[in-house]
């Protein structure tokens, strides 16, 4: 993958917008339309907020993002951290049907990302959690 953009910052909420905008900046450059950029924006937030909230327990750590085009010209976004191994994709689907009283709070983030992105993968590479999502290039 040819990297278009990279960022590495402390996994803290004050860096969320810098991280997201690095990703949406790549998407803009690839000419995705407003709607698709909004979906990439959302998916990026969901993945990043999980790293920021959970990857390092209460401690400090960093998060890296690399965006690039794969051989097929599709946009790949790779989000990684060096926290404890955790496969975010292994979770059950959240409740999206029950009534207000029974509806559980939480668990929607990863679900939305999986619904909106074209392909989402988790890998443990050396001591890092690597979440990758792919956005198919727009058809002309």
């Amino acid at each position: 993958m040819v990297p278009l953009a990279e960022i590495r910052v402390p996994a803290r909420i004050e860096n969320l917008h810098a991280l997201i905008e690095t990703i949406t900046g790549c998407a803009r450059q690839q000419g995705f339309d407003q709607k698709r950029i909004g979906e990439i924006d959302l998916s990026a937030e969901e993945a990043l907020v999980n790293v920021i909230s959970y990857a390092y327990g209460g401690g400090e750590g960093e998060v890296s993002v690399v965006c690039g085009l794969d051989d097929g010209g599709d946009l790949n976004v790779e989000i990684s951290d060096s926290g404890a191994p955790f496969d975010i994709l292994a979770r059950d689907e959240p409740d999206t049907t029950s009534a207000l009283d029974e509806r559980q709070i939480g668990g929607l983030g990863i679900y939305l990302m999986k619904k909106l992105m074209d392909d989402v993968q988790y890998r443990r590479i050396e001591d890092r959690n690597v979440l990758t999502f792919r956005v198919l290039k727009k058809k002309d």
């Binding site: 909420i13 969320l16 909004g38 959302l42 999206t96 207000l100 983030g109």
Partner: protein, 110 residues
């Protein structure tokens, strides 16, 4: 996110504008606590100027609905469009909220 309120009868109309994300949602939670502590019980949350909502925003709205219901209050949402509408559909949120096309229609329903 910008939060504006106005009182119409016994209803607090809350307008949300901009991004309701993991950075801005805690501010909404804090405001809700102030409103309910001040005795507000009936709410219209108008989302017509909301451009973006993530799961952090959904969490805040769901938690608001649960709190207001527990107090026997009323919560209506209005003005969903674009990305906000899409996220509500994917999350099955249409079935748990009373949702109106506009603030006016929500007001007329009471």
């Amino acid at each position: 996110m910008e939060i504006n309120t106005k009182k119409t009868g016994n209803i607090l109309v809350v307008s949300l504008k901009g991004r309701m994300d993991a950075v801005s949602s805690p501010g909404f939670d804090g405001n809700l606590l102030e409103w309910t502590t001040a005795g507000e019980n009936n709410f219209i949350i108008d989302l017509s100027a909301l451009e973006y909502i993530s799961s952090a925003g959904l969490r805040s709205l769901l938690s608001a609905a649960k709190q207001i219901k527990a107090r026997d209050g009323k919560l209506m949402l209005s003005g969903l469009s674009g990305a906000v509408q899409e996220v509500f559909k994917l999350s099955g949120f249409y079935s748990i909220f009373q949702i109106f096309a506009s603030e006016t229609e929500a007001l007329q329903s009471v």
